[in-house]
């Protein structure tokens, strides 16, 4: 994991997310601004990371941790409250006009969780892949070349025979096949970055690996970068070079995936890893003690957001918000336990 200020060949750096915050205002309370003042849900609070060409970063967290909100800010579905998203050095929030937005969106594509909801049930597979081609004017040539592109894309994502699949409707495909269509659609505009929001969580277990292997293969072949959003930390280890663990809108730990799994530093990461069913060690049962759930953070007081559930909680955790500190090269932790180690 690279901090923004670390040296890196500029062309290699695709996305640079700096101190990203996204707050959602709450309605309700007293009218005319009386009472406690504006109330905001802090869905994402001060998240920074860089995504290099060909890199896969996993955003891991439970529901309510803010991982999907980050993806939505990155593609411009939500404006950021503060902080910056730089794409090749350009501030995404400053993009103006249809042309600039189109260009950005053709570089950064998204794949959604639900392979049933994200495809139009009354349109063929071919239609889904032609739409981005025509919207982004990728096929200036005639209709036949579009057809070739569709077939080629379907082959790339492993749907065979592509000519047959192109004519089918979403309901004629299995969940895994539909998710492959989603990837073909995203690839149609030849993006640099794919934001994949829980792409395998609704699929049957036997076909999940196929999709992850497809993603890994596309990374190698096309030098794609991914932001892989998941609640499944084991799949993050499988796919991603680096992993960011989110809790209540904040990055609690970010590190190369292998190091994170082998040496989890933050108590929340440790909790998350201990809760994963693991058949290889599972027969010796281990108990966890972590009552409670992710809080909804509304106008937070200073302090660590995990303090109420943390087995190592100290007085300072309730009064001072911990900062992300580097505990070893590329390994950042937001926890007072490692305060003394901060150089």
């Amino acid at each position: 994991m690279q901090m923004p200020d670390e040296t890196q060949a500029p062309s290699d750096l695709v996305m640079d997310v700096r101190h990203l915050c996204k707050y959602f205002p709450l309605s309700g309370g007293l009218p005319f601004g009386l009472g406690a003042g504006p109330r905001n849900i802090h869905a994402v609070d001060d998240v920074s990371f860089t995504l290099r060409r060909g890199q896969i970063i996993a955003l891991v967290g439970e529901s309510g941790s803010g991982k999907s909100t980050i993806a939505r800010v990155l593609v411009g579905l939500y404006p950021a409250t503060s902080g910056q998203v730089l794409f090749h050095g350009q501030n995404v929030a400053k993009l103006r006009g249809r042309r600039a937005l189109l260009k950005y969106r053709s570089r950064v594509q998204m794949v959604f969780q639900d392979p049933f909801g994200s495809l139009n049930p009354v349109k063929t597979v071919a239609h889904h892949i032609q739409r981005p081609l025509s919207i982004h004017k990728r096929s200036s040539a005639g209709h036949s070349s579009t057809g070739n592109t569709v077939v080629e894309l379907l082959r790339v994502v492993g749907l065979t025979p592509p000519e047959e699949i192109a004519k089918k409707y979403p309901h004629q495909l299995s969940g895994g096949q539909r998710q492959r269509v989603s990837f073909a659609r995203a690839l149609a505009v030849n993006p640099e970055v794919i934001l994949a929001d829980e792409p395998i969580s609704m699929l049957d277990v036997s076909i999940r690996m196929g999709i992850l292997n497809l993603m890994a293969g596309l990374r190698t072949e096309r030098n794609l970068s991914y932001l892989y959003i998941t609640h499944d930390i084991a799949s993050a280890r499988y796919l991603a070079d680096d992993t960011i663990v989110l809790y209540a809108g904040q990055a609690m730990e970010q590190s190369p995936s292998e190091e994170l799994m082998a040496k989890p530093m933050h108590p929340y990461t440790q909790l998350l890893l201990s809760a994963v069913p693991d058949p290889s060690t599972g027969l010796a049962k281990k108990r966890i003690e972590a009552r409670g759930a992710i809080p909804t953070v509304i106008n937070p007081e200073p302090g660590c957001r995990f303090a109420n559930r943390c087995p190592h909680v100290m007085p300072v955790c309730r009064t001072t918000t911990p900062q992300l500190i580097s505990v070893s090269p590329g390994h950042l932790v937001r926890c007072h336990l490692y305060g003394a180690a901060a150089a």
Binding site: S174, V205, S206, M261, L272, D278, P279, S280
Partner: protein
Amino acid sequence: MVGTQAKQPAEPEMLGWDNRDLLQVRDLTVDFVTPRGLARAVDHVSMTVAAGEVFGLAGESGCGKSTVANAIMRLIKSPGLISGGQLLYKGRDIMALDDEKLRRYRWSEVSMVFQSAMNALNPVMSLGDQLCDAIRAHEPVTKKQAMERAAQLFDLVGIASARLKSFPHELSGGMRQRSVIAMALALKPSLVIMDEPTTALDVVVQRDILQQIEDLQAKLGFSILFITHDLSLLVEFSTRLAIMYAGHIVELAPASELFGNPKHPYTVGLMNSFPSIKGEKRQLQGIPGTLPDLVNTPPGCRFAPRCSHVMGRCVVADPLLREVSPGHWVECYLYDEVGVQ
């Protein structure tokens, strides 16, 4: 009956059934009438749940695991029908129960926890009222007595009894699932069927609830039929488990045996579908291909089109579920020394 096969069902005695068995499923077959013909969702499934046991039933969507659960509760409705087999609960035939006996059988003998707690609860009734309803439908107690029982039940699953006044939308997903579990335990059933009880929950909450189910089971001694697609979780949690594929039980074994020594190619494939957080990082393949069509299924093993060990006879006739070592049953020709035409 469509698609009847020259299949010899395993003899009940061979499966080691005895009086300690709470629930016996014998050759259960469930069909669904579809415009294209009959879809055989469950095909000659036999299994037993012993008293005090956690029996796991694992499989992917469409494999028939939830249909088995619904059949045990006699909840199969048109266009589905139980077209063959026997369901015995404490030796009594469930299929023969009349309406009144069925009403008493459901919930006070066998209760069920569904996957989506939000859908299982009535959104416009407080949790206390819903629990009282369930209790008073079966036992002649006053509202006040029922409410006291409800408070005890909430205490049992670790929810403050003040929450009895709450409505479902006021609780977190984990608390809703706990209250559904409380409701399932309200009438002290001998068997609780849990159909994906933790699938919609976050992993930490899931672990917490599983621990609680385990504690309750140890304390109250009920049996659990635990249905999930998450094999890694079942291996940890169950005593014995069965793997279902396309309506068949393809493998049945004690959990540790199944994990340490999986036999059926499908089970092996499933085991290779879960990345681990520990140990050597290795390339996982999953299982290529998709589930077969359950209408007009071709003869032979239903896993044959996806199987890497497929042989000539696999596509000719169905293999039988055979005991390959004590308590370990596999439905695959690879482990079939005798050979069946």
